[in-house]
Amino acid sequence: MTLALKVRGLDVAYRGVPAVAGYSVDVAPGTLTMVLGRNGAGKTSALRGIVGFLPSETGRSSADIELLGEKIGRSSPLSLSRKGLILIAERNKVFTGMTVSDQLRLVAEDKAERARVLDYFPRLQERLDVRAGLLSGGERQMLATALALLLKPQVLLVDELSLGLAPGIIAELMQYLRRLADDDGMAILAADQAVTESLKVADFVQVMDDGHVVAEGGVADLDVDAVLDMYVGDEKA
Amino acid sequence: MTNLSKTAPAPAPTSSRPSGSRLLRMLARKGTPTNVFVAVILIAAGIWASSAGPFVSLIGQSCAIFAIAALGQSILVGGAGQIAFSGGAFMALGAFTGGLLARAGVTNFFVIIIASLVVGAVVGLIAGLPGLRFRGLYLLLSSIALQFIVNSLTQNYQNAVDQPGFVLPPLIIGSVDFSSGTPLYLLLVVVLLLVYAGIAAVERTGVGLAWKALRESEVAAAMTGVDVVRWKLYAFAASGAVTGMAGALFAYWVGRADAASYGLDLTISIVTMLYIGGIRSRLGAILGAVIITALPYFLQSQVSSWLNNAGINFSFYLNNQSEIDAALFSLLFLLVVLFEPGGIMSLLGKLESWLRGLGRARSTRKRDDA
């Protein structure tokens, strides 16, 4: 079975200061891999490093990456998005000055497609003419997810889905990721700090600390409690 | 002695001097050889110009004046990390201060110069107040607005009062006539050196350190307790003062203060000087000023005779000289800003690093062989 995403030896540095060293991951289609770890552990940097940094940003990354079996040279977010790798970022995930419907139109010109995706997010359907800057945190996350889905990703990277959201919404969104993997065969790599909810839906887990992966394995096999005690403390949300 | 520099000094080049020599360690600090090299060249050129005839002396005078103006503008870059497009306006202010004082009967050189410093500082301070909030593009735009406003005011005033411009008194200090030739040249060079030394001295004090912190990151500076407002204002005031004085000196040199000379063209020339020499370096400002000011004369007189001797027709250049010069300088400006904003100083610095790398490789090999 071809891996949807294969990363080996990812190094990320900001102006020479290293943030991630030697990160590797295998993500198979239809699976959900969660990356856990404290603030500053390097989760966000690892995800950003996979899609690549823009020239205007200070980050630089290097890695061996295979996307859907194809070797990716110098990765750039633009080319990777065209090849089916989409990142939903931690911050900056929607166009705050544009209305919901405008943004959806931006990403997908097909009305039927937009309608199909909007079916998953009834709350957004009520907010079509609202500027995204005025949406609530949960609605923004839904919009960001909708935008990503409209691009028909085969590999979806999600960064801190749960940030600032109420527990109920977090559970709902996590379940949603699970369904995407199960029903649509999407390969999902998500970084998060909501440990309990993440473990409920993940197939595989990686724990990061100080820029390295310090533990990983299938959720079923991993002595998750022990690992978490060591590295996350009592942050079991 | 304790070495306080941030980067550890590179090992001293092989020489017969004892390696504990303080001078050598200072020279070996990164960047110093470049600075020394450029300074030596400038000094040598300066000395040559003092006795190479009236034409060269004239060029030298002009170079010195613009070097002072460029230094003035570079205070703002060094002090607030900001580039402003109002150099011409401040020169106009200094020049008109001189012109108006002359009209009121003042003939003392020092009074006029000090007045131009004060006026420049005050206006600089006022310009700095909104400049506190502006960075980048907004400062660019507001300084351009200031440039046009000052230009307009001075031009209108001049049209109303004394059409050809305000005549300045001949530059006589005590009983010595400094108004032309070598004496004027030497006077201007002395002023330039004083300004440079003044800036260098200030940069070693607390003010200079604050400016350095501001340059690196205003946010970080504010968080470590640097009174951003105060130091930024000082930078604006100092920049205005020095540039204003340069304007007064320019008016002395030309003989009158004429608003038409201080337009956006002049401002752009000064910015070009800063970028070509090296936007982050005081010596770069002087270097850039000398190059931009002297090059047209050099092209016209020297290169034309070379080409004539080689049988190449140079009349096209001579017929369109000012436009071709403008095109060349604009092109140079474009290339420098895009690809090497550190200018010539930065290029020389890279050369120095490359040479150091060679030197280290060679000394490592020697050690290995030994």
């Binding site: 940003e57 998005s81 931006l106 010109e109 | 593009l137 406003i149 307009s152 604009s330």
Partner: protein, 291 residues
């Protein structure tokens, strides 16, 4: 009465020119955060190309205007792709300063080729003139205003209805998010530079139809666009038009009340006041960052 209505009409025509050139600036700024001084240079190319086509090529003037506009649009896009695209992404401010250099090169080259003395475009719009509320309106005036109206309307339609317009909005809102979602910021910027070149060329042509032009004068015209866009708001296309018209009226009033020598002072004085008090302009979005 007719003096006033003439002044008003003159202000509107001039103002619409500023607005047209200003729209180009705003498009560029929204697409790449660059304030391009090269607009003045592109105006020059447009004017002299137009002049050459009319006098030497005997091309009908509307066609000549169209050709000029298209050529300059292509030149502008090429300039972006070849020179500024790499740098602009990293450092918009430095790029803005660099555009000054390019403007200087263009102005100097044109001066070398065509000389510095003023050039008068022959009266190609026809010599019809008629009276409107006491003001004399020439055919050239009408053509100028018509050009402005048509071009700006077309641009607004493009921005509001086409996918390109949506992408431009997205890149203006959030360049990095756009790239992550598959929108090529550099392609959007190229389109913006092309459109800006077009507006510059047509603004220049419209100006040349009514006044004689010389290289330095046109470059200064380019600078008048700044008060217009600051008044209107750096990131608003309709704002540029509004700002341009208001500036035209202000200049007309200043000229009328104080004399032509005070136009500069009023224009840039108002610009400075706005920068201090309302940097987002009259129509800009209120969340402009401190750049």
């Amino acid at each position: 009465m007719s003096v006033i209505s003439q002044a008003v009409w003159g202000a509107l025509v001039t103002g619409s020119l500023y607005g047209l050139v200003g729209v180009g600036f705003v498009l560029l700024y929204r697409a790449s955060k660059v304030l391009s001084f090269t607009q003045g240079g592109f105006m020059l190319i447009g004017i002299y190309l137009f002049y050459g086509l009319i006098t030497a090529g005997h091309v009908p003037f509307l066609l000549a205007a169209l050709i000029s506009a298209v050529v300059v649009a292509i030149v502008s896009a090429l300039v972006y792709v070849a020179v500024f695209s790499r740098v602009a992404a990293r450092e918009p401010f430095t790029t803005s300063v660099a555009t000054l250099g390019l403007a200087g090169v263009i102005t100097a080259v044109i001066a070398i080729i065509f000389g510095t003395s003023p050039v008068t475009v022959p009266n190609v719009a026809g010599s019809a003139a008629f009276s409107l509320a006491g003001a004399t309106v020439t055919a050239a005036d009408l053509v100028s205003v018509a050009i402005m109206v048509v071009v700006v309307a077309a641009i607004i339609v493009i921005l509001r209805t086409t996918p390109l317009g949506l992408r431009m909005k997205a890149v203006a809102d959030n360049p990095s998010l756009s790239v992550h979602l598959g929108v090529s910021a550099s392609r959007v910027a190229t389109a913006a530079w092309a459109m800006a070149g077009l507006t510059a060329a047509l603004g220049g042509v419209a100006f040349a139809l009514r006044e004689s032009v010389d290289p330095t004068g046109v470059a200064t015209l380019g600078f008048y666009a700044f008060p217009a866009i600051i008044l209107g708001g750096l990131d608003s296309v309709p704002g540029a038009i509004g700002g341009g018209l208001i500036l035209g009226v202000l200049q007309g009033a200043a000229s009328f009340l104080f004399g032509a020598d005070w136009i500069d002072l009023v224009s840039f004085g108002v610009m400075l006041v706005f920068l201090l008090v309302r940097p987002t302009g009259l129509f800009g979005r209120a969340e402009v960052q401190r750049l």
